[in-house]
């Protein structure tokens, strides 16, 4: 029989052995097993914890570093024209900054940088670099690679570069007013760039992270835009004008295919837009447009069934309202039909038509065409129209021939498009409409009125006495209306200072496009026969524009002789030659 051995500590009582379950566990060795398992589990957990720490630690370091030093910027989607040609994009550029604490010789830094940047504010930079507590001072942002390399070659301690996003405009000043511009942080502040920020959305980023969004597609066609800008620049020189503006509008969809205002602005140089002479004359300014407004007056009289095109109106005597006397520039000396009032641009005739319709119908028609209320497009609010406070006889007479009411050319073009497209509403837009997008078909005037306006506009170009005869273009049936408006100044209208304009549409058998040309303060030159009338300067300019943009817009030129032939085909051989060379 075995005997239990009891180990007794020296000088003490024998150790008490744990009783119960614990005692059994100790006795069977399970406790040691448990402790060993726990130790192993702890070891595993330590390994796992270490792995997690290693996996996460590098990310934390990077993030905290980025947050601490890099300024916020905005990654913007590209802007392309209606055919996908790039107009604006983000590119990376180096920006130069200094860490004053690391600058050894600030005078050397300032002097050497001044040799590269002659316009550098040396006093301010020296002051900034003197403050050693500052660790970050911007010196110049958005450098070209060449300039950045020159600075790098200086080897100055304390200077460093940071990559940032910069907006690039590959087309230069093309469509500058439409595009607008961005600020130093790449945030849109004007034009379509601002629309991107407010509606389309841009991404706030750190450093130079390019946007991955689909480009924003403008309604502008850069071929048409260039043709318009170049012809306006030519007209500016030919007629000695101080400024010019032009619009090409799709009269069905309201898409603006070209919008030009000269002198222009370069989106890459936002400071240019501060020059008052460079303000956008298409949408940001209002003008008394003169006789071009008569198309609205005649349409109003026709639409309200006050007259028909053949109604004779007595225009032999000047029209007297209060202390004002309205005369025709070239009195006919006989009654004129409504069509003739339009073609000869009779002020008296337009005034009589407005009086016949009355103030209420005159005002209501302008309201219907949205000529009295402010409108807005994607490039910003259009300058609000300036309208008479009250609508008495004198006001409706002056507005009948385009004085006493000032509207932005874009707003007037949209109203004129309604008169030409069969009568439905036109809302001007700078964003390309999808082909399957729902069309705006809200009727504003009768289709018959639109037909009449088309007919007399075409006659105004084909009639030898028409004021728009110089807008005729071989191959394209063009119609239009001239306007020569005196410019208001201190104490009345300025002498010999006019805005000459021509509102054209083509092809007049089924108008598709509207072209509105304005020349500001043209001079009487040899090219205009010494006159400043729109028929001598704005009308031929519109004709030149149509001749150039017609083929670009996919409209084949025709000739009267060829049109008379029933079996005309396109010369494929010559077309191929032009396409392939």
């Amino acid at each position: 029989m075995e005997r239990a051995i009891t180990i007794t500590p020296l000088g003490g009582k024998p150790a008490r052995r744990p009783q119960g379950k614990l005692g059994d566990a100790v006795a069977s060795g399970r406790l040691r097993m448990l402790v060993a398992s726990l130790a192993i589990a702890v070891a595993f957990m330590a390994v796992a914890g270490q792995l997690v720490r290693l996996a996460l630690s590098s990310q934390f370091q990077v993030t905290s570093s980025l947050n601490a030093t890099i300024a916020e910027s905005f990654a913007r989607p590209d802007i392309v024209d209606r055919h996908g040609h790039l107009l604006a994009t983000d590119v990376e550029a180096q920006s130069l900054f200094a860490d004053p604490a690391r600058v050894i010789d600030r005078d050397e830094v300032v002097e050497k940088l001044a040799s590269i940047f002659p316009d550098l504010n040396q006093v301010e930079l020296r002051k900034n670099l003197s403050n050693r507590r500052r660790r970050f001072v911007w010196i110049r942002r958005g450098l070209s690679p060449k300039t950045a390399q020159r600075i790098h070659n200086l080897g100055l301690p304390g200077l460093a570069f940071r990559r940032e996003l910069r907006r690039a405009y590959p087309g230069g000043a093309l469509a500058g007013h439409v595009l607008g511009h961005v600020n130093i942080d790449n945030k849109g502040v004007a034009g379509f760039e601002r629309y991107l920020d407010e509606v389309v959305g841009v991404e706030a980023v750190y450093g130079a992270t390019l946007a991955e969004r689909a480009p924003a597609r403008l309604s502008i066609d850069i071929g048409v835009q260039y043709a318009v800008e170049e012809e306006l620049a030519t007209a500016l020189n030919r007629f000695g004008a101080r400024g010019a503006a032009g619009i090409v509008l799709d009269i069905d969809t309201g898409e603006v295919l070209a919008s030009a205002s000269l002198p222009d602005v370069d989106p890459a140089r936002p400071v240019m837009s501060l020059d008052p002479s460079r303000i956008d004359k298409v949408a940001s300014s209002t003008f008394e447009l003169g006789s071009v407004f008569k198309m609205v007056t005649v349409a109003m009289a026709l639409d309200n069934a006050v007259v028909s095109l053949d109604t004779l109106v007595d225009v032999r005597e000047p029209l007297t309202v209060g202390r004002f006397t309205i005369r025709d520039l070239h009195p006919a000396g006989r009654p004129l039909s409504v069509a003739e009032i339009f073609i000869r641009s009779s002020n008296v005739g337009a005034g009589v038509l407005a009086l016949e319709a009355g103030p209420q119908r005159s005002r209501e028609f302008l309201e219907r065409l949205r000529l009295l209320d402010p409108i807005k497009t994607e490039i910003g609010p259009v300058a609000a129209p300036q309208v008479p406070d009250q609508w008495q006889e004198s006001e409706i007479i002056t507005t009948s021939y385009g004085h006493g009411i000032a509207v932005a050319p874009l707003q007037f073009a949209a109203a004129a498009a309604t008169l030409l497209n069969g009568g439905h509403r036109v809302i001007p837009t700078f964003v390309k409409r999808q082909p399957d997008a729902e069309r705006d078909t809200v009727p504003l005037i009768k289709p018959a009125t639109s037909d009449d306006i088309r007919r007399i506009m075409r006659r105004n170009v084909t009639d030898p006495k028409g004021t728009g005869k110089r807008a005729d273009v071989a191959g394209y049936p063009v119609g239009g209306k001239t306007g020569t408006a005196e410019i208001p100044g201190a104490g009345g209208y300025k002498k010999d200072a006019v805005i000459s304009s021509f509102l054209a549409a083509f092809p007049m058998n089924k108008p598709k496009y509207l072209v509105f040309v304005l020349l500001f303060e043209p001079k009487g030159t040899g090219d205009s026969g010494g006159e400043v009338f729109a028929g001598r300067n704005a009308a031929p300019t519109a004709g030149r524009i149509i001749r150039r943009i017609g083929p670009l817009l996919g409209l084949l030129p025709t000739s009267e002789a060829a049109a008379a032939q029933s079996n005309r085909v396109f010369d494929a051989t010559r077309l191929a030659k032009y396409e392939t060379r």
């Binding site: 040691r32 097993m33 398992s37 590959p170 079996n567 005309r568 085909v569």
Partner: protein
């Protein structure tokens, strides 16, 4: 019992090495991914610059004089001519005639 403990320790050590190896491989892969991402970023940056340069070179202001120098002009009505229907019947196939009729809007 000791055998069990030793076996467990061996498993723990093996697992630790294996985990370390996996961690090492993962970090290597991460480095490669980061390198690829950097390469993608640089490529995207270069593409953006090339896109801008291509658009700059293709701007109408530059293209138009080049086109004029090649003798290209906007299409005019002189490029249209009338072809008698009988002649067309001889020259063109049915398809060509259909195309011609389409041009005429028939």
């Amino acid at each position: 019992m000791r055998l069990h403990i030793l076996a467990a320790l061996a498993i723990a050590l093996t697992s630790a090495f294996a985990l370390y190896g996996i961690n090492y491989d993962t970090r290597q892969l991460e480095r490669r991914v980061q390198a690829k991402e950097r390469a993608i970023k640089i490529a995207r940056r270069d593409i953006a610059v090339l896109k801008a340069e291509r658009a700059h070179l293709g701007r109408p202001e530059r293209i138009e004089p080049l086109a004029r120098a090649q003798g290209l002009r906007p299409a005019t009505e002189r490029q249209l001519f009338a072809v008698p229907a009988e002649a067309m019947a001889d020259v063109f196939s049915d398809t060509a005639q259909r195309t011609a009729r389409a041009w005429r809007g028939e």
